[in-house]
Structure formats: C-alpha cells, structure tokens
C-alpha cells in the first residue's frame, strides 16, 4: 500500500466525504453564516436580508477585512500585530490631512491629482511603517508582540499630534468614491462575466497542466460542478447588490486584494515559507530558507494593507479623527481566529478569515438593526468568538 497516486480515487462518494472532512471548517463557517442570516431575517421580519442591508453588511466589513488579509499571514508565521488598527487610523488621518489641508494649498484646483497623491502617500506611510516594524522584529529580533504594542502607543500619539484633537474632513468627491462608490449595474454585469470566465479558464488550465504531467484527472463533471457553484455565487451576488446601488467599490477592492494575497500565499515561495516557518521555524531555517527576510516581508505586506485599509477608512467615514481605527486590530484578529487560523502558527487561510469577518459584520449589523444595546452587542460578540473556537476544538477532537 505504498504511494501510487495522489489524485482522487475513482469512488466519487468517498472522495466527496474526504473533501468534506478536509474542508469541514470552511463548510461549518458557511453554515454558521447562513444560520445567522436566516435567524436575523426572521427576527427582523425580512429587512435584514433586504438588498440595501445585504449590500451594507459587505461594505462594512471591508476595512477590518483588509487588515485580516495581512493578519492571517502574520499569525501563520507565529507572530501577532497589535498595531494594525492604529496604523490604519493614522493613515486615514494623514490622507484626510493631505487632501483637505496640504494639497489644496500646494496644488489648488487639481482635485483628481491631489486625491491620487494623497492616497499614494497614505499607502506609502503604511508600507514604510511596515518596513520599520518588520526590520525591528525580523532583524533586531524584538518579539512582535512587544514591537507592535509599542507601535500601538506610538501611532496613537502620532494620531493625536496630527489631528491636534480636531476632526479633519475627508470628503473630496474622488476620495469618497473609494469606500462609498458603486459600479453601475451594467459595469457590474461585465465584471461578473469577466470573473465567471476567469473561473472556467483557470479550471481548464489546471486540468491541462495535470494532463501534461501525466496525473489522473478528476472526472470533468466534478470540476465543472465546483466551478459552476462558485460562478453561480458570483452571479447571484451581483444580481442582488444590483437591486440596491450595484457592486460596492470597496468590496471589489477587498475581493481583488484577498484573491491576490491568497494566491501568493499558496503559490509562491514567499507564501509557502510563511506557512513552513509557522509550522517549524528550525526545520524551515535548516532547509535554507531566509527566515528573517520572509518575516520582514510579511510585516511589510501587513503595513501596506494597513495603508489600503486606512485610505478606505478615511473615505468611508469622511473625516480623520482621534478615534480612527480604535479596536480594529482585535476585530481583525478575531476574524482570522473565527476563520480557522491557529494562534500557534502554521495554519490559517485567507478565505477562512474573510468568512470570519463576514460573520462578525453580519452579527454586528443584525444586532444594530434589532436595536440591541451596545453593551450587549459586545457581550454577544465575545461569547460567539469563544463558542466558535470551542466548537472547532470539540469537533477536531472527536473526528
């Protein structure tokens, strides 16, 4: 009974069971999301899953979800980043200041150009801060927990300095598009067709590659069913959000970034090494991997994503304030954990974290719609997190 083939066996039923077991966690999360949605819909008499609210749930999750995309890799390598909320907040304040105060003085009248410059500066601030943190953690070897805790305070101070306690408006029309804009239904459908086409093309490319290397192919209907399922999800989503204003631009942004980073984490050396480092740092180092360089890059990526998140935040709320980004780091971490990222490192996926974030956003929105007092919203959120992880531990033990 030695290794003969790694392709799925010919028995589709047992194969299905195997797949189900392997992706148990993802399916459990999807089921949980659906239960939450249905539950709140019934409770709210239908408004909860109306097109408008549905659209808003997704739009609301983007800012912390952008942070979770990077946080997954940070936790996977066995680290933590407590500064992401404040860094996103600081970026949002910088962007607000740039487009409201600085550029209008230096380059009056060029609204589009100055918005672009403000955004680029925001992204650069995030990435540069990531470079700084990555250097201290990876090369000076100060534990990430300490460094990012320090950064939390440093950035908090920086936010206070920049705002001087006041609120800076961030309502340039071009800037607002980033988090408040929508694609028109027609453009939405074009995007949908493009994505569906891409799904099928990747499926066929992957099958062709398997043939080239002489592996057994899974039956075509199996691949087709799966791809068709994802295609249907995309179409249904676009159809539904088109009932309200159309595809939300921030959600599109999140989707592109999440897919890109997920791809990187599975298909590049950088991503593979991140998982290996979290699984066994010593063994990975002895495999000739440049551990420090890799960890450094993880924090640079995290910083850049904080930049993206901060720009979106400025656009979303329309101003930069002293409270910008407060508590987002915990939401981002919670989304990762809900999505199956192991705090011990080595395990975790970006799609999982996205669903984790969706669950949190669905819950928050639902409780708000039902006018549950904020105090109880916190209590419930905390309970859900612990309960979810307990259920996961329980099923892992008893499988």
């Amino acid at each position: 009974m030695s290794v003969t083939s790694t392709s799925p066996t010919t028995n589709p039923l047992s194969d299905f069971a195997k797949r189900l077991r392997a992706n148990f966690q993802t399916y459990a999360l999807i089921v949980a999301t659906v239960i939450i949605w249905v539950g709140f819909s019934v409770w709210s008499g239908g408004t909860y899953l109306g097109a408008q609210n549905f659209s808003n749930i997704f739009r609301q999750m983007t800012i912390t979800a952008l942070l979770s995309v990077g946080m997954v890799l940070v936790i996977v390598t066995g680290h933590i980043d407590l500064s992401v909320g404040k860094l996103a907040g600081f970026v949002s304040v910088v962007v607000a200041y740039m487009q409201a105060t600085y550029w209008p003085k230096v380059l009056p009248g060029h609204e589009l150009l100055t918005t672009i410059l403000s955004v680029l500066i925001g992204l650069a601030v995030g990435a540069l801060y990531g470079v700084f943190q990555g250097y201290v953690i990876a090369h000076l070897r100060v534990p990430a927990f300490i460094v990012t805790l320090g950064s939390f305070w440093i950035l908090n101070g920086a936010i206070l300095l920049r705002t001087a306690g006041k609120t800076i408006p961030a309502n340039q029309p071009f800037l607002s598009v980033i988090a408040q804009g929508y694609l028109s239904p027609l453009v939405g459908w074009i995007v949908a067709i493009f994505v569906v086409g891409l799904l099928f093309i990747t499926m066929f490319i992957s099958r062709r590659r398997k043939v080239k290397y002489g592996f057994d192919l899974p039956p075509i209907y199996q691949d087709l069913t799966r791809t068709a399922f994802f295609a249907a999800l995309v179409v249904a989503y676009v159809f539904y959000v088109n009932q309200y204003n159309g595809i939300q631009i921030p959600v599109l942004l999140l989707a592109v970034i999440a897919v890109a980073v997920a791809y990187i984490s599975n298909n590049t050396r950088f991503g593979r090494y991140a998982y290996a480092i979290g699984g066994n740092r010593e063994a990975t180092r002895l495999s000739g991997v440049n551990i420090r360089g890799n960890i450094f890059m993880v924090f640079v990526l995290m910083g850049f994503l904080c930049g993206v998140s901060g720009v979106t935040l400025a656009s979303y709320v329309g101003y930069g304030t002293i409270a910008a980004g407060t508590g987002y780091e915990l939401d981002a971490i919670a989304a990762c954990i809900l999505g199956g990222t192991s705090t011990l490192g080595g395990i975790g996926t970006i799609p999982g974290a996205m669903i984790g974030g969706l669950i949190m956003a669905s819950l928050t929105t639902g409780l708000q719609i039902m006018n549950v007092a904020p105090a109880w919203q916190y209590v419930l959120k905390g309970l859900v997190l612990v309960l979810a992880v307990y259920v996961d531990v329980y099923f892992k033990k008893n499988r």
Binding site: M1, S2, V3, T4, S5, T6, R21, R209, K210, K212, Y213, G214, F215, I264, N267, T268, R269, F270, R272, Y273, Y275, A276, G279, N280, E282, A283, T284, R285, L286, S287, G288, V289, N290, G346, I347
Partner: protein, 512 residues
C-alpha cells in the same frame, strides 16, 4: 492452566484503523512471562501502533480485538494516561519525551512527584531517582540537567522514567536507533539486569543483529499482519530479513561504481566554540578533505563532535575561532544554512522532529520545502511539477501513506525519516552532508537510500555521511574519517578499514 500462567500478554485479532490506513490487521500473538520479546517489521508495519495500544495512547474501544494481560482483558480508559503504568506496563517511546531544561530526577518523576502538604519533596524525589538509577546500574546523576546529557544517557533516563513504577512489562520502541555500539552494549547489560529482576521486555529495533544478542523470541509484522513468532534460536539474520520484507535480500549494501575526482571541499584544523558558552570548545581541530563524487564516512562515538562538526560547517552551530573551510579551492565563510545552500551545501539533520520536518504539513510540502526554487517560474510555483518530482522519491523509497497530502505527523517514524531524506536527495547539492540518515529506517528502505546515494555520487555529488552503525560506514564509504573527543583522529581508505581499527581510533586507545 499452568500453560496460561506463562503467558503475560496476548494479542487476539487486533485491528487498528486510521483514516485511509489499516495500521494493524487481525494481529494475534503471545508473549511469555520474563522473556525478552523482539518485534520487527518494515517501516509502517504497525509496531509502534501495537505498543501504543498497550500503553493506552489508543485506549480500549478505539481498536478491534482483544489484549489479554495477566489472564484478563486489558481495558484502558481514554481518561487516564497513567493507568497502564499503574498496572505495570512501562513504555519508552520511539521519540524521546524528556523535557530538556529539567533535571534527570524531575523528568523521572514528572507527573507523579512526591508531595508533602502540596509541596514537592525534592529530597525524596532525588533519593528515589538515585535508587532506581543504581538498581539498574545506570551511570547518570539525578541532578544533571537533561539537555547536557548525550543521547545514550537520555535513553537511560527514559528507561528509568518508565520503570519507576513497579514495572512488569517494559516496552522499548527503537531504543538504540540513536546509539553507537558501545552504548548499545550498555543498554543490553541493563536489559539483562531487568530480566533477572523478572521484568518482561518487548524490544523493537531496525538493527536486526541486536535481536540475536538479546531476545528470546521474535515476532515479525508485515503490513499490519502478524507473520510469525519464533524462538530466536531457530532464526538467523537472512531468514529474519526475508520474512520481514517478504523476499530474499542478498546484500545489504549496493555496489557503486564510483571514481572520485579532484578535491572539492576541504576543512583545515577547524576550532569552534559553543555558541551559548564561549568558554567551551566544541571542535578542537578537525581536518579532512572531500573529493568530487566521493562518499566520506565519519565514524565516532556518540558525543565525539560529529554533529557539532557538520552543524558548524553548515553555519548553524559553533563559533569558528580558527581553521579554514574551502570549497573548490576558495575559502568560504558560512554564516547560516541559507548561505550554505547558496554555496551548494545541504545537510540532512540528525533530529527529524525538530530540524527535519514541519510535522503539521503534508508529505509533499515537506519534501519540496528545500527545493521550491526548482519549481518556481517567476513567482509562481508549478505545483504539478512539484507533485511529480516528490512522487518519484516517495515511490522509490516506498513511503507508506495514503497519499502525499497526508500530514507528516501521521507517518511512522521510519517513514518520516524517508521524507527527510527525500527532501535532501531532491536538492541536488554539490556537497551533501547526511547526519545519521538511515536512523530508524528498515533494511529494505535502507538499501534504496544507499542506491540513491550511489546514484548521486556517480553523478558527481560529494557526500559526507555520519553514521553510528559501523557496518554502514564501512559498507558505503570510499574513505572514513574517525572522530574522537571533538578532533579528527585519522582518515583512511575503506580498503584499510576494520571495525577494530575504527573503534580503536574512536575511543582514542591507540593513534594510527
């Protein structure tokens, strides 16, 4: 019923399944009271699984069949890990389980420390430890910190830990895989002493000669099935090997047709300090050279500095104070394993769990980890090419697993070792350093590893192989360097090698 009284343990139709694997299928055999009973079989045959059933890792109800102990069925509960020990079944697992930062005594009594009013009574703890150690003539201090011990002594501490409750059955799962000959002799002495104290011993090993030194009878497992139980006196090595692998094996070491070329790698009078303790010198003058396409064996006792030497060369251990390392005639300074690999030097580390494997990841990911550069086009890793290359190694070494996506920690010890070997054989370096590469690997798979080593060296790759098995060093090397007390103590051609000569150099009894 006098007959039954002789039988201390009986397995009746024991079957144990894991997802995708049947580890034991319908195995039945008996073990007589007071004997030393050897169990042998290929990697993944189910030996460790059987022992874990006895020790309660897989409690009653998680397997099919019956285990009869002292005339009644053994029903260990999942909730209590000490139950087996309380009933007199002691086990020393395949992998060391000591906590390196604690003392010998604390390790021996871990989890059942003598307490008075809720406080640990250290004096009693150390006194009791000393009593156990001296009863079985183990030469270790109870106060020593475990990480300062050599593997041989650690193994003794493991045994002491297992024995400290009145053990009737002692299970030893590959206790000698990391030991050198002298230490094996010591262990044998301890086992004979235990036998005199009436302890029944179950002994698992891949060093088959040991069975003939110490066991009274031998059970052979193959693919989870019991093949035979026979008195050792009725067996010989050839018979045992052929029952074990299911075919004849004429030779243990494949003949290579190597013709080593010019010198490509040189180490000259290397001295180095312990990185954590700059008072202590860990290398006290090592010199050797390595030719293209050559296999250089490094022999020596445990603790003679062999692992320290190769880890230092690899840039991962000692602080070099003097001496030179030259590759292709040019002096090189290696500061990390990353740099070493850029120079074309790879190392198969000694400790597979800590340094060799990412246990939570799949076999595939483990094999390819050191070799992703081979499969990367621009940024993207060609996962089909990765799978194909990994499969070919998995096949030739017969890694036993449902597929390559199985996590490494679900493999048997020997199969894990094969994964580590595959990873490094795939890396195609210029110089391949192997630190005890066949530890815990069965005879059949060893042969395959040797064949791959021959292929590599014939294609011009130079190999440095550390081994604690003298036969292996003599069987595979072109030249042999012997280390003694952190120094190189002589290098000679394999044609001039005898086991006596190597042992003499290794123990430093005579020079030359």
């Amino acid at each position: 019923m006098a007959m039954n009284n002789d039988i201390i343990l009986e397995f009746r139709n024991v079957t144990k399944r894991f997802p995708g694997v049947v580890a034991l299928s319908d195995a039945s055999f008996q073990i007589r009271r007071g004997e030393i009973h050897g169990i042998c079989g290929e990697n993944g045959a189910g030996k460790s699984t059987l022992m874990k059933i006895l020790s309660g890792v897989y409690p009653h109800g998680t397997y099919e069949g019956h285990v009869i102990y002292n005339g009644e069925e053994l029903k260990l509960r999942a909730s209590s890990i000490h139950e087996a020990a309380e009933r007199g079944i002691a086990i020393v697992y395949q992998e060391l389980t000591l906590i390196p930062t604690m003392t010998v005594g604390e390790n021996v009594f871990l989890g059942r420390e003598p307490v008075e009013f809720g406080v640990i009574n250290r004096d009693k703890l150390y006194a009791d430890t000393r009593a156990i150690l001296s009863k079985y003539q183990m030469d270790v201090s109870p106060l020593e910190i475990v990480k300062n011990l050599g593997v041989g002594k650690m193994q003794m501490v493991e045994i002491a830990k297992a024995l400290s409750e009145n053990a009737k059955v002692l299970i030893l799962d590959e206790p000698t895989s990391a030991l050198s000959k002298a230490e094996v002799e010591k262990l044998m002495g301890i086992l004979r002493g235990l036998k005199e104290h009436g302890v029944t011993c179950i002994y698992i090993s891949h060093k088959l000669e040991e069975f003939f030194q110490i066991t009274d009878s031998i059970t052979v497992l193959r693919d989870g099935k019991m093949i035979t139980t026979q008195p050792t006196s009725e067996l010989n090595l050839e018979k045992l090997v052929s029952t074990m692998v299911g075919r004849e094996m004429k030779e243990r070491f494949p003949k290579g047709k190597r013709s080593p070329g010019r010198v490509i790698f040189e180490v000259e009078n290397l001295h180095a300090l312990d990185p954590n303790d700059s008072e202590r010198e860990v290398l006290k003058g090592v010199s050797f050279d390595l030719r293209e396409g050559e296999i250089l064996g490094i022999a020596g006792l445990m603790g003679s500095g062999r692992t320290e030497l190769v880890m230092t060369i690899f840039g991962e251990y000692g602080k070099i104070t003097s001496g030179k390392i030259r590759l292709n005639g040019r002096e090189i300074k290696i500061k990390s394993s990353h740099e070493a690999m850029l120079h074309g030097i790879s190392l198969v580390p000694e400790d597979r769990k800590q340094h060799g494997l990412v246990l939570i990841q799949s076999i595939l990911r483990n094999i390819s980890l050191a070799n992703l550069d081979q499969f990367a086009h621009w940024f993207r890793i060609d996962d089909s090419a990765e799978l194909k290359a990994s499969l070919s190694f998995a096949k030739s070494l017969a890694i036993k697993a449902p597929d390559l996506h199985a996590p490494a920690d679900s493999l048997s010890g020997g199969n894990q070792q094969k994964v580590v070997i595959s990873k490094w054989l795939m890396s195609k370096p210029k110089v391949l350093i192997m630190d005890d590469p066949t530890r815990g690997v069965d005879v059949g798979a060893k042969f395959e590893i040797y064949k791959l080593m021959n292929d590599l060296s014939e294609s011009g790759i130079s190999i440095i192989m550390i081994s604690s098995e003298l036969e292996e060093v003599v069987g595979m090397s072109d030249r042999i360097m012997v280390m003694c007390e952190d120094k190189s103590n002589g290098t000679f051609d394999v044609s001039e090698a005898t086991q006596e000569r190597i042992m003499a150099l290794a123990t430093g009894i005579s020079a030359g």
